[in-house]
Each structure stands twice: as C-alpha cells, then as structure tokens.
Symmetry: C2
Subunit: 327 residues, 2 copies
C-alpha cells in the first residue's frame, strides 16, 4: 500500500479489502438479534460476492453486559460461531470488534489455535490509545490480525490525532481506520484527514481504512473518496444498516470497486431474498433522515437523533433548537 498505487477509476488495487460490518454495526440497531439463518445466508453471500472480511459482532464483556438482553453476536463466543457457521472453508475471514473498556481481552481472547475468528478490530477513543495498544499487542501475540478504529476524531485536535497515529504506528496493528463517528465530515475534509492517515501509514507500513456514517448522506461518497486516495480497508454494510443513519451501503461500494473479484450480484440476491426487509418488519430502523442531518451538521453523537426517531417525533424545528441549546 502506497500512494503511488492509487490508480484511476478504470484500474483497481489488489490491496483493497472490503469488510462487511452488517452484523456488528447493524447489531447496534437490533441488539444483535440476528437469526442463525440470516447469519448463514449473509456469510454465503459475502463469500460469493468476494467480500474479504465479515465482522460478526462484538467481543463484549459478560460482566458488563447481560447476556439475556442481547443476541449472541454481542459476545461472539467461539462455540456459537462454530455452531452457526461450521468450519470456515470460504475465502472470507471472520472479524470481531473489541471496545476498549468493554472487553475483558485477557480472559476472553485466547490463543488463535482453532478459533474461527481471524481478526480483532479494536475500537478506541483518542484518550484510551494506550489501552488500545495493549489490546492490539495482546491480540497480536495470541495470533490474530488486528485493526484499530480511532473514534470521534471530528472532536479532536490535529495534534492529538498526530500523536495517536504515532503511537498506533509503533504498535503491531495491521490497519488504522479513519472513523467518521458523527457523520459530520464532508468529502473535502475527508481527503485531508485520509492524506494524514496515509502519510502515517506509509511511515509505519500500516494499511489505512475508512468507516463512514451516513448522517449527511455522505457515507458512500466519503468511502469512494478515501478509496481514490489509497485507503485500502473499506467498511460497508448491506443496505447501509447501522446505528442511526447507518453506514456506507455494501451494494454501492461493490458497484463502485473495479476489482473483478467483487460480485455485486450476490449481495443483491441476499437482499432480494428478503433478509433485510424482515429486519425492518421486526422493527429495526436505520438510514439517513433529518435528525441525523442535524447531529451530523452540529458534529454531535447521533444519540439524540436516535431517540427522536424512536419516539416518533416530527417536531424537527423544536429538536433543532434543543440541539442548539446544548452548544
């Protein structure tokens, strides 16, 4: 991965890796209550579509989160994964997210051995980077690939981001992700941020990734822009399913990428089979809408917007005032 290999719209980079985060980011919408049939069908679709990684969910600490209140993909126990997916004979690697402070990695992430999990994705805020590095080192020592998401960077100073990149650059992590947690970053800003990450990546031999949110309907655009610059690890979800306004839609991303290995058809087949519609019928709600536009515009966590949608409110003008009152 170097900037020299960015290519053009007609060429492609073999170094590109697509990660389907539907179960993980989408799990935040339905408390990880995906049926086994859903997970099997998605896995088969990802394999047929040439997707490189499927993220199964979180490795959440069972001392913090009640297992009765969430589906099993919040915890990603090895035996659950094996009982649903069996032995992985596909080209798709399995990933699992571990949040700093919400994962007991020493207890729950053991030797890779026969674990079906191939990669741990460490999610951290800027102020917990040392803890993230410790988790990265642990997972690396245990034999897993690792990536790291630095969240909420739109609230941080350039100096702090630089420092974080230096620290992570010296860790054994494979890829460092640009994360637009609040969906507040416009493409022209995204390019500046991606260039900064790519510079650090070049210095330390790390891949750079992009995890975008759709609060201002820019998740796909920002992902495409990052790809054009040389960002190789690309997160997306089917139908853009994800917390609040959701993510970059996998179907848009696979249509855009020119790598012959990616086959949009199989994601369309999965959608046509009704799996995503069934989630919506069960009450899962996600996607761009006015309250997310406003949290994105004001660079805020989408929690207020999620509440607004859940409560069925339509008083968008009052809601805008509530957000401004919190400035």
């Amino acid at each position: 991965m170097t900037k020299k290999e960015t290519g053009t719209l007609l060429s492609f980079r073999p170094a590109i890796r697509v990660l389907d985060a539907t179960l993980r980011d989408g799990g935040l919408v339905n408390d990880f209550r995906f049926s086994d049939a859903f997970v099997r069908a998605l896995f088969a679709a990802d394999a047929a579509a040439g997707v490189d990684y499927m993220e199964l969910g979180y490795k959440a600490d069972r001392d913090i989160f009640d297992e009765q209140k969430f589906g099993k993909w919040k915890f990603c126990r090895e035996d659950d994964i094996l009982s649903v997916l069996g032995e992985n004979t596909t080209g798709v690697k399995l990933a699992c997210m571990a949040d700093v402070g919400r994962c007991n990695h020493v207890r729950d992430i053991g030797q890779k051995g026969s674990s079906p999990i191939d990669m741990y994705r460490i999610a951290t805020y800027i102020n917990t980077i040392p803890a993230a590095v410790e988790m990265i080192e642990h997972c690396n020592k245990m034999g897993y690939e690792t990536t790291v998401n630095i969240m909420a960077i739109s609230k941080e100073t350039e100096k702090e981001i630089d420092l974080a990149l230096e620290m992570l650059g010296q860790s054994p992590v494979k890829a460092i992700y640009v994360v637009d947690s609040y969906g507040s970053i416009y493409p022209e800003e995204m390019r500046v941020i991606a260039e900064k990450y790519l510079e650090a990546g070049e210095k330390y031999g790390k891949e750079i990734g992009i995890h975008a949110h759709n609060n201002q309907n820019l998740a796909f655009a920002n992902t495409a822009e990052c790809t054009a610059l040389g960002v190789n690890y690309l997160d997306a979800t089917v139908n853009g399913m994800g917390r609040g306004a959701g993510n970059c839609a996998l179907e848009l991303l696979l249509g855009f990428l020119k790598n012959p290995k990616y086959k949009l058809l199989h994601i369309l087949k999965f959608i046509e089979a009704g799996y995503m519609q069934a989630l919506r019928n069960e009450g899962a709600v996600w996607g761009y809408d006015l309250p997310y536009l406003l949290t994105g515009l004001f660079n805020r966590h989408p929690s207020a917007a999620i509440r607004y949608i859940r409560e069925g409110r339509t008083d968008i003008v009052n809601y805008m005032q509530e957000l401004l009152d919190q400035e």
Copy 2:
C-alpha cells in the same frame, strides 16, 4: 466567479446562488399537480431561507402536451403564476425550464414586461445545442436571465462537450450547468468535469452550475464537491424530490453552505408542516433505491428503474439481468 474565489469550508462566496427545483424536477414525479397552498408555502419558505431562485416548472408546448393531463406548473402561464403567488415582493427570483423541442418559445415566451418569470433555464442534449442557443438568444432579447443545462453528458465524448461549451460560451447565457442526468458520475470524475466547465466559464465570463441526481446516493456529495471548486449555481429540491432517485436535498445543501443568508430552519419548518409527506401520501415516490443504483452504475436513463418501482417489483436480480441484456 473565478477559481481564485473558491474559499474554504469556513469561508463563503457571495456569488453562490441556490435554486430550488422542487416544483420542476419534483413535478416529474406527480405530473406537476401541486396545490396552490403547497406552492405558496414553498415560495414563502424559500424567501425566508434565502434561496435565490425558485423554479416553478416547465414552459411546455400546449400543442405537444395535453393540459388536461398535467398540473398547471407544466405550462407556467403568467396568469397562473400571478394568481397563485401574486406580485413578487420577495428576494426570490422565479425561474422556468424550457426544453429544446418541447417549448414554442416564439409564441409562448414574450417580452419580460410585467411577466413574473425572471429566468428561463434551457435544457438541451448535446446534439440540439444550436437550437438551445437560438432559445437562449430569444429569451435574452425578451429581457430574461438565462441558464442552460447540457443533459446526459455521461454519454458524450470529451470533444463534443468541449464543442458545446465553446458554442454556449459565445451565447448570451448567464450560467452553464453540469448535469448528471443518470446519477452515474462519481465525485472524482465530477471534479474533472467541473474543472472543464469552470475553465470555459472563465474564458467566456459564464457562471457554472451543478444539477445532480441521486441514483448512487451522490447528489449532495457531488454538489458539495462542485461548490468547493468554484461552481456557483446550485440546484436542490426539498427532501431531494425529483424524478426517480431524486436530486440534491435542499436541507443538506443549506446546512453545508456557510453563506449567512441561507437559513435551513425555514426549509425544516416547511417539511415539518407536512407538505412533503402529503405528496408521499398522495402516491408520489422518489429517492435512492436499488434499481436506481443499477441504472446509475450502468450509466442509463432511469426510466427502467422508475417502471420497476411503479410496478412494485422486488426481483432485483432479474432486473439487473434485463439491464445487462440491453447493453
């Protein structure tokens, strides 16, 4: 308008002009059947929000189109405009689109005099540019501002576009629009196209505009990218209402623009009052969806996708094959 004045995300260009095309592009969804109350409320919202132009609809030829089959905004008779909006005492200028070959401009576009219409927007394909120039010259002579939309450029060669820009550059037109008719253009391509138009604009003293479609969910992203480069005439519609996948959403655009004159609040008020929801309740359907992704990806007119949606089809895999069979 020069490239030197493009500014940054924190600055703004006074030369920016926002055009609300809801009645015109949105009219393609509901055959221009907007109630007088809707049109008055939208006009008041645009005035309060600082929108520069409101496009009322088309000046369609009544010999070609049956007046019984469409709402009045397909024809934009001066007396209809005056009876609904009264004398225009706002800062919003009124615009009307005239398609080459579908408008009897000699008969229907007379002296500006007391006409409530301020600007005619000529829409043309590349192969009818000479007819477009004739219409531009006519409207200019009659005392109107004019702009021109060159449609379907994603199907044209660079040489043809260059030639079109030369011809239009020598006409009295005020602004030349980049139009992504099929929603097939990615931001990195859009920047190349916008730079070409801006160069011609600088050479001939013309403003450049952007009219984007949302087939691949890129309408706002492409509009924002063009804005950053120095494109000053920006088309948008409330809730992105427009044919098929629709347009750049006015509420996203006004949030993005830093010009203090633009006030998003008033567009949110209009939406909150339920005007757009009422159109949806009456059966109007628009917005990004899978069949539009595919026509965008394959660089096709969205007509097949519009039919797919109208017929309530869900066999997206068959539909994709149908599109490919037509290659």
